[in-house]
Symmetry: C2
DNA sequence: AAATTCAATGCAAACCTTTGCACAAAACTA
DNA sequence: TAGTTTTGTGCAAAGGTTTGCATTGAATTT
């Protein structure tokens, strides 16, 4: 095909003009005469010139790359977020580079280090489950690299943030159960070190208070998200006799499904004896028989698009945008059947 | 923090030596005296020098970036592939940049164009459903950029390829049904423009022949993967009266689930009146009641890791590796319950 | 006709690193 | 002592592009 590397120099030599003239002609610089510009453009076409972005990167010391740290790609919730991010990044001409922390702070730090070394233009992070030290993020900020946290947001760390409106979702879920004449509503929450667990709890407490429902510490349990622990905690609810809850709000769909399984094993009919609602970290398949009555949909794709939009804006303003927190709506989706 | 941009030049000036000496000292070039090397390294430490990878890229005209084109991230099968790719790419110090073609050839072409322009070191592609023209791939190859196709592989296009052992899986699936005393086994296949459909068909034909089963063109149908079409085709099977198949091999889990739904609607008991097996493009959740008896697992993560390993090898050998086709094992997973 | 302005283009630096070649001084060999 | 090797370092080019400044020739003004 083409001989070697075709650069503006090639064009310049071919036309017997200077490199800078070619560069300017190609960029429609008004200082270049119309006829010269014509010739340059035609020649560029003819020799199939494409600008070398690496040289440009060096010049501008920008890379057009965005780094995305995700705990895992093997969970639907996160891969949908990534999908949203990819779309917007693409549309804006940015390359998206993706890495999984696999919920290890150590890995997370290394990824961030690599991003810094590679001079990405911006970074988005959902922190690993065991991230307790934030010095790597401090470093990112001190270098002036735009940074956005999404979904899993570190506590008390000033930065751009994008998260779901969990609290309102929890309230909506409980109102729904209330309308179904449920009065003894329990919460089967996630690990308390997650901020998203806090929000569920706060929503629960607020709704219970507003609706004048009775509750007790026994109605609030947490699971470490393992099947075993969820079973265990659900069994505790079931064994509460006359105080047994008539509805349980679960941390997410998986927890709900496991809890429902526990019910069935104990002869408790789900959604009759005890009703379930949950938060959607997965889409509940249409093929599942015994599922929660409703889930609080979190729109992960939107979570992704909002995050990258915020990041891009920060990049555009040169990292001088004041820290913003974007809260993505949730809504209670009532499952058919 | 640091003043401006710290380069080897900074170090050189600080130490009153030349740039090249600094460069060599940092790379442990033996031509540099031990004491000079010492001083340089210490100073680098002191001023917190990090090499600028962009300049390096320009120099070597390599970018350390791998491009991955995936039809969608919102399907578990593909996001698991990506997960595998990410792990290996990371381990080898490559950045992985990801784009979704969203099953549009047009988008696919643009992604490829961007990859070429950005000078990625290698490209992996699972082609879009409607990709009929391969000129963009020809271009990639003619530029000497290493290219690997995975899962969705263009027909008759010489290149590196990584795919699942579908044919063997199909045979295994049918043997399984045979052992369950099924003798009237049908195939509900995917779109015939997909190579993976061919392979299922060939496996089916081979197994049927080997086992001496009777079949007929009526036992072989294709669906466009839409729920409607799957329903329609399944209903045709159901209405075949005394010739009705007693087992159906489905293109993938989704198709199987839809087909099963069609059965239920028509009072046909799945896995009693008609048994189902399928190929796993999704993991069948433990929560689904009516599901195929077994699925041919395709190990998508492994598909990913194998693909990127092949790509990396090709990159290492400077794109001179002879075209290879890697076939990833499958295995029939019998669902509990 | 001389002076001024303007349009069109070229030069060279800058972005940062690597590396072939050259050079100098020191050490060694004959 | 003169010649050769070794050792340690510097110069400059290369990689591709952009851009401030300088230069040229032509057109306009006085």
């Amino acid at each position: 095909m083409s001989k070697k590397n075709i650069t503006i120099k090639t064009i310049a030599q071919e036309l017997g003009i200077s490199i800078s003239t070619v560069s300017r002609a190609l960029k429609n610089n008004p200082r270049i005469g119309a006829d010269t510009r014509q010739k340059v453009i035609q020649m560029a076409e003819r020799v199939n010139y494409v600008p070398n972005p690496i040289a440009l990167n060096l010049q501008r010391s920008r890379t057009n790359m965005l780094g995305l740290v995700v705990p895992t790609l093997e969970e639907e919730f996160f891969s949908h977020i990534v999908s949203g991010v990819e779309r917007i990044a693409s549309e804006n001409g940015f390359h998206l580079i993706i890495n999984q922390s696999r919920d290890s702070m150590q890995t997370e730090r290394e990824i961030i280090r690599a991003y810094i070394a590679s001079k990405v233009d911006g970074i988005m992070v959902s922190v690993a489950a065991d991230t307790s030290d934030y010095s790597h993020f401090v470093k990112v900020q001190s270098l002036g690299i735009p940074l956005v946290f999404y979904d899993r947001i570190p506590r008390n760390f000033p930065s751009h943030k994008v998260r779901s409106e969990i609290l309102q979702g929890a309230i909506e879920a409980i109102n729904f159960l209330f309308r179904q004449d449920k009065r003894k509503i329990a919460l089967l929450n996630g690990p308390s070190n997650l901020q998203v667990s806090d929000e569920r709890l706060n929503g629960y407490l607020e709704a219970v208070k507003t609706l004048g429902l009775s509750t007790s510490p026994q109605y609030i349990k947490t699971t470490d998200l393992s099947r075993q622990d969820t079973h265990l905690k659900m069994e505790e609810f079931i064994r509460m006799g006359e105080h047994r809850p008539d509805a349980v709000v679960c941390f997410n769909d998986y927890v709900a499904l496991h809890a429902i399984k526990a019910c069935i094993e104990h002869g408790v009919v789900p959604n009759r004896d005890i009703s379930f609602v949950s938060f959607a970290n997965i889409g509940i398949g249409e093929f599942i028989e015994n599922k929660p009555l409703a889930s609080v949909e979190q729109y992960p794709v939107k979570l992704g698009t909002e995050s990258v939009r915020l990041l891009l804006e920060d990049i555009r303003t040169g990292g001088n945008t004041k820290f913003r927190e974007i809260i993505v709506e949730t809504s209670l989706v009532i499952h058919p059947n």
